[in-house]
């Protein structure tokens, strides 16, 4: 009897605080996925490959949303991510296709760009103490315009064998295989982009949980003044966060380009809002100090599930994607706020 009581107490404790919100997110994803299997069984929803396709399609978003989570934990925001992704795609396309640069050179170049861009934004936000919304807004404008300056027309990457090889490479998993109607054994597969995304997730998770820098992010986001008085170098912490985020945005762009193998002006428009929505649904708060990439990952999965629903349904137009995602976002936002109200009432 006592052991059961202790177990219940432990469960209650684990579910306390922000863990509760994470639990809701994960539960929602699981429920939605199961519902999808039931409703769309004939459209192949129950296929393991469907799940893997979600990861393949959203590898870039996973990486970008991880970066966004870090920034939001410090209490900031970065609405330039979508434009950076678009610019990186265009840069890759132009350098490889029009300039004949080798794939690895091009990739190194864009990663460098991401770091420098992140550093510039980080300097203005952390050292000049300008508002993140305004600066990243300007950053968004800047990158969109720059994309158009490079080329107004779409550039498709057709000549670079290395890159195309990376883009179409299927990595087969050794488990979960099925036999299709022709009697051929089909192994489920992912792309290298998914591997990169998973590695990024694990790296960021470790950073947030086990490094001083990661914990400093939470302190700065929780109460900047206190963090300063506790001896944390707030400016350097924020600056580093934006540099890291710039790197991740460029990485997301590279991964995105692996999917699209082209660059054009309107690419990834609204991408940053997907990243923010994923983070918020995953339990990250815009006020800062609270958040986890695990939650963000499930936020991305929920968004992917909605898209898969609509694709399987076939009759609804793609605007419904945005509307359903907004409704879900609304739900989670209100949930977060209700949760805080209850917590405050309990404290008194």
């Amino acid at each position: 009897m006592k052991k059961q009581l202790m177990a219940v107490q432990l469960l209650k404790k684990k579910l306390d605080g922000s863990n509760f919100l994470l639990f809701v997110t994960i539960a929602l994803f699981v429920l939605m996925y199961i519902a999808g299997i039931i409703i769309f069984s004939d459209a192949g929803f129950d296929n393991f490959q469907t799940f893997l396709n979600m990861l393949i399609d959203n590898a870039g978003l996973i990486i970008a949303a991880s970066g966004m989570t870090i920034i939001m934990i410090t209490g900031g925001i970065d609405i330039s991510i979508g434009s950076v992704v678009g610019l990186v795609c265009m840069m890759l396309a132009y350098t490889m296709q029009n300039m004949g640069m080798s794939a690895w050179m091009a990739i190194t170049l864009v990663m460098l760009f991401g770091i420098i861009f992140g550093a510039v934004q980080g300097f203005l936000i952390a050292y000049m103490k300008l508002q993140p919304f305004i600066i990243t807004l300007a950053g968004m404008f800047f990158c969109r315009g720059l994309t158009a300056m490079i080329s107004v027309n779409q550039i498709a990457i057709t000549d670079n064998a290395t890159f195309l090889g990376m883009a179409s490479k299927d990595i087969h998993l050794l488990v979960g295989s099925t036999v299709n109607k022709h009697g051929v054994r089909m192994y489920p597969f992912v792309h290298p982009s998914v591997i990169i995304a998973i590695i990024t997730l694990v790296f960021i998770w470790y950073l947030c949980k086990y490094t001083k820098f990661g914990r400093n992010l939470f302190a700065v986001g929780g109460n900047e003044q206190s963090a300063l008085l506790m001896g944390i170098n707030v400016r350097r912490t924020k600056f580093t966060a934006y540099v890291l985020n710039g790197f991740l945005a460029a990485l997301a762009g590279f991964v995105f380009c692996l999917n699209t193998t082209s660059g054009f002006v309107e690419q990834a428009r609204g991408f940053e809002m997907d990243a923010i929505a994923s983070a918020v649904i995953g339990g990250t708060m815009l006020t800062g100090g609270v958040g986890t990439v695990v939650g963000t990952f499930f936020g991305v999965l929920i968004k992917a599930t909605i898209e898969t629903y609509i694709r399987c349904n076939g009759t609804l137009s793609s605007w419904w994607n945005k509307i359903v995602l907004s409704a879900l976002l609304c739900f989670f936002i209100v949930l977060q706020s209700v949760f805080i109200i209850i917590k405050n009432k309990k404290k008194n």
Binding site: I77, L124, Y127, M128, K129, L130, Q131, F133, I134, I135, L137, A138, G139, M140, F141, F142, R144, G145, L146, A148, M149, V152, V265, G270, M273, I276, A277, V280, L286, T287, S317, W319, W320, K322, I323, L325, S326, A327, L329, C330, I333, V334, Q336, S337, V338, I340, I341
Partner: protein
Amino acid sequence: MRQSLKRSQLLLPVAALILMLVINVIITPSFFNISIKNGVLYGYTIDILNRSCELIILAVGMTLVVASSRGTDISVGAVEAVAAAVCVRLLGSSYDAYAVPVVFAVFMCLFAGAACGAFNGLLVSKFNIQPMIATLILFTAGRGIAQLTSARAINGVMVPGQILYVRMESFKYIGGFIPGCVMPTPVFIAAAFVLITMILLRKTALGMYIETVGINPKAGRLVGINSTLIIFFTYVFCGFASGLAGLISSSRIYSSDANNIGLNMELDAILAVALGGNSLGGGKFNIAGSVIGAITIQALTTGLYAMGVSADQLPVYKAVVVVLIVTLQSDEFKRVWGVYKLRRAAARGAA
């Protein structure tokens, strides 16, 4: 004393505007020329004034939202599209007559904007949700709603996502010229809107209440101010402003284009507010500053077009200019500059 404080607040926005005008004159020597062609005023300055009207209206609405809730409303562009879609859909596409009285359509257009504002306001004031997050919802969903509203019967089935047109001439007066009038109509609308707003804010205690709520909402409540209602009001007002701007925009192109009406306007509106010397952290605000900021942005745009920059590439220059201006206006820069001047003076004194 209050007046001179106000004047120093406007110093930098006015300086920025003058800079833009100077740059324009250098590029286009005939910049300040105004003439009358076809019975209406022509000239670069008129053009800038005309095109900045929607932005002025949005910026005024945004200023109050920022002041009272310390956050921004990023849905204003999408709400413009929604309101425009409602208006055009109601008016119908006939060449002979409006499907409903114009007054009714205009009213519904503004009401739609205000209703969207009320949705945002409810989330922010009653549920205490951060403004950027709360308005993110309409930002994402708004254009979808506008698309669904812009539906036309094709082969007996209502198909959403169309661009609907208003063919009646008198609709174009709103975004164009009223026959016999030399000044574009939007300028009158914007001027009237700004004037009425300023009277409302300064001749009643509303302006002071908004500032109080933005600076210290708890204190505001304890002195008897209904903070929730004030914040809710500013969002409804901002939604109304978006509706008005949407009306003008759709009249200019006599159609509802849910994808393009109000595109990127939220960003410009926030920039106009910041350029106007208003703190994005809420509290004290200055309507005149936001108006000047809006015109400055439009002047910048015109100047860049005159230099041969294309519409797609425009944002690059906007970004650089805005970062420069915001940096120069910032407290940190003023502090660094102050220290630099002190050191220079000390060095000269020691020499």
